[in-house]
């Protein structure tokens, strides 16, 4: 009990720090970030994409219980739904600080442009937020009835416990089955925001949406795994071991698919040998080699580790493998930005001078001593304010999950 209060307090501090930083940013403008015209999306969008990714787990776990009859995972459908709700809430919250005019965001609803993948994303993410909430709600109804508490459940008073149990069972299944395609869609559409842009070679590939789905299945399931492990604790590990191993297997399997997509993608970027392709490869392997190495090697380790006996047989191994995966997936989200923005779309060949690719400089949008106004690449590293603001989804997620776990029982006792 005390421990959870401490965690809630810490999460509250994270949220507070980010809100203060966000307030400062609203006052000064996005000049307090290190984004500029040539590099116009950074840590915020990467963090958003990361949280969309971990939000997948919930409905993938709960719907696979019903679709593939994986009974062993059944005790964790509540935790899965809760983790999905908390992550998508975090993802949604992360978007707002990235808007220069957050006071006008309602314009998206009043004057939506349905050609914009961003509008599609608003629709599917809102739907997912609602579905994951409903999923948690219907699963908790029987407990609430029994214990005489909960919220939005006044209507269950006039029904017997058996009715509520049956209702919960029926609707948990329905919500999970409706939710699965929406879970797939949030990744597909988030990827489409990038993949539709023919001006950015790094993004403009049809493999991006399926790859987002595979990474989401891996990181989303790993996220449910971590929360389930923490909720169950080391003492009860053996009791649920098979469920944890099953989740580890899903993570590893999804990563196998992910690496297949990555290989095909790299091959297609490189094979033709165009200056654009060469530039992207040189950016990812040399200029941003460390980050790209993190993106590749950590998840690769987790994939192999989770396929071994050692990797999936202990509490600690599963936690470590999952954490390494999260770092790798976060690097993956950051690497969406670096090669895309630092390969300037307007490049020209000047055959007379023997130049195959020359980038037309972009105005950065700020006049400052010692910084050129026109640049062909922008060495973006997030500013302190950006790091602080980006704590928002982390704080929200920890807060919501901890509070919910503290208030209600998420691991039904047999």
């Amino acid at each position: 009990m005390k421990k959870s209060n401490l965690i809630l307090g810490l999460a509250g501090v994270l949220i507070l720090i980010s809100l203060i930083a966000w307030g400062y940013q609203i006052n000064k403008g996005l000049i307090v970030t290190n984004m500029r015209n040539p590099f116009s999306w950074g840590l915020y969008i990467a963090t958003f994409a990361f949280f969309v990714g971990v939000a997948a787990g919930g409905l993938i776990i709960s719907s696979s219980v019903y679709l593939f009859n994986i009974e062993k995972l059944k005790p964790f459908t509540r935790i899965a739904s809760l983790s999905a709700f908390a992550s998508i809430l975090g993802a949604g919250a992360m978007i707002f600080p990235d808007m220069g005019r957050v006071d006008r965001v309602w314009n998206i609803f009043v004057y939506p442009n349905f050609k914009s993948p961003l509008v599609w994303d608003v629709v599917v993410i809102s739907a997912y937020l609602l579905i994951t909430f409903l999923s948690v709600y219907v699963q908790l109804l029987p407990d609430w009835k029994k214990e005489g508490r909960g919220f939005l459940n006044g209507w269950t008073k006039s029904h017997p416990q058996e009715y509520v149990e049956a209702f919960s069972k029926k609707w948990s299944k329905r919500v999970a089955l409706v939710g699965l395609p929406v879970a797939i869609l949030i990744h597909t559409v988030t990827a489409l925001i990038f993949a539709t842009q023919e001006s950015r070679g790094w993004w403009n590939t049809a493999v991006l949406p399926p790859d987002f789905v595979s990474v989401a299945i891996a990181s989303g399931t790993a996220f449910v795994l971590v929360i389930a492990l923490l909720a169950v604790g080391k003492d009860q590990f053996e009791q649920y071991k098979e469920a944890f191993q099953r989740m580890a297997l899903i993570v590893a399997g999804a990563l196998v698919v992910h690496f297949f997509f990555v290989s095909v993608d790299l091959l297609i970027h490189g094979w033709w040998g165009s200056p654009e392709g060469k530039e992207v490869l040189s950016l990812i392997f040399s200029h941003y080699g460390f980050l790209y190495g993190t993106e590749l090697l950590l998840p690769a380790f987790t994939m192999v580790f989770f396929l071994t006996k050692k990797g999936k047989n202990s509490f600690n191994a599963l936690i470590i493998g999952s954490l390494l995966l999260f770092i790798g997936v976060f690097a993956h989200r950051l690497m969406l930005m670096y090669p895309a923005f630092n390969s300037i779309p307007l490049t020209l060949a000047i055959p007379g001078a023997g130049i195959e690719s020359w980038a037309y400089p972009v105005a950065i949008g700020q006049l400052q001593e010692g910084v050129p106004v026109f640049v062909s690449s922008w060495a973006y590293t997030p500013s302190l304010v950006e790091y602080a603001v980006a704590l928002l989804p982390f704080g929200l997620l920890v807060f919501v999950v901890t509070l919910a776990l503290k208030m209600y029982n998420y691991v039904p006792q047999k």
């Binding site: 984004m35 015209n37 005019r101 957050v102 961003l118 307007l346 007379g352 020359w358």
Partner: protein
């Protein structure tokens, strides 16, 4: 009416007068340039490039290409970017939510963001106090949408409007008028007898990044002077 521009690279001397005229007429904040001129291939403007002793130095002005298939407009979630009845791609400064998707989408790097309040930016940089440059009033299109204001709101995207405040009065954009070499021609692409239409027919113009299918309404006449 479809407004378009022809830029005759044979005549361009790279003096950047158009960039300066554009900058001051449109009251662009420090560090923001709707119109740029660079020497393709060179890391500095007006540095010659070449090999084997054969040097060349062309200049290439680039501002909004006024695409008929504008990616920036398609990605805009709130419809702040739109094409008016003359084919000019404009931004409603009161509608823009500052998501910057359009900056990611534009292949030409012409879209620019107000990272800070322009007034504060001018002050910070040390522009003379009280010195205001550019067209002094707001300009709204016929539907009342704010497409020009001397000091843009913080957090919105801006770019070339073909000088909507002037062209709506039948005048030419500042870059066209300010060019000492008469490099730029401005007119109606739908009118077969306009000077721009005639040149486009006669001179086989180039459009930037044509392979992306953006269908720009800014046409370039390739420099014809041979290097021997």
């Amino acid at each position: 009416m479809r407004l378009g521009m022809v830029i005759d690279l044979d005549r361009c001397i790279g003096c950047r007068s158009c960039a300066v005229a554009c900058k001051s007429h449109n009251a662009q904040p420090p560090g923001t340039w709707w119109n740029r001129v660079f020497t393709p291939g060179a890391s500095f403007h007006q540095a010659a490039v070449g090999k084997d002793g054969a040097l060349q130095m062309e200049s290439l002005p680039v501002s909004c290409q006024m695409c008929d298939n504008p990616a920036c407009q398609k990605v805009c979630p709130s419809g702040a970017t739109y094409t008016d009845e003359q084919g000019v791609v404009l931004i409603d400064y009161e509608r823009c939510i500052g998501c910057r998707y359009c900056i990611a989408a534009c292949p030409y790097g012409v879209r620019q963001y107000n990272w800070e309040d322009p007034k504060k930016a001018k002050e910070r940089v040390g522009y003379e106090k009280g010195y205001e440059y550019g067209y002094p009033e707001d300009f709204r299109d016929k539907d009342g949408r704010l497409v020009f204001t001397p000091n843009r709101p913080v957090g919105v995207v801006e770019k070339c409007t073909f000088c909507a405040q002037y062209t709506s009065q039948g005048e030419e954009p500042a870059c066209v008028r300010g060019c000492p070499g008469k490099v730029r021609l401005f007119g109606d692409l739908d009118d077969p007898n306009s000077e721009v239409s005639k040149l486009i027919k006669k001179r086989q113009p180039i459009r930037l990044k044509e392979e992306l299918g953006t269908s720009p309404k800014v046409f370039y006449l390739a420099p014809a002077k041979p290097i021997r």
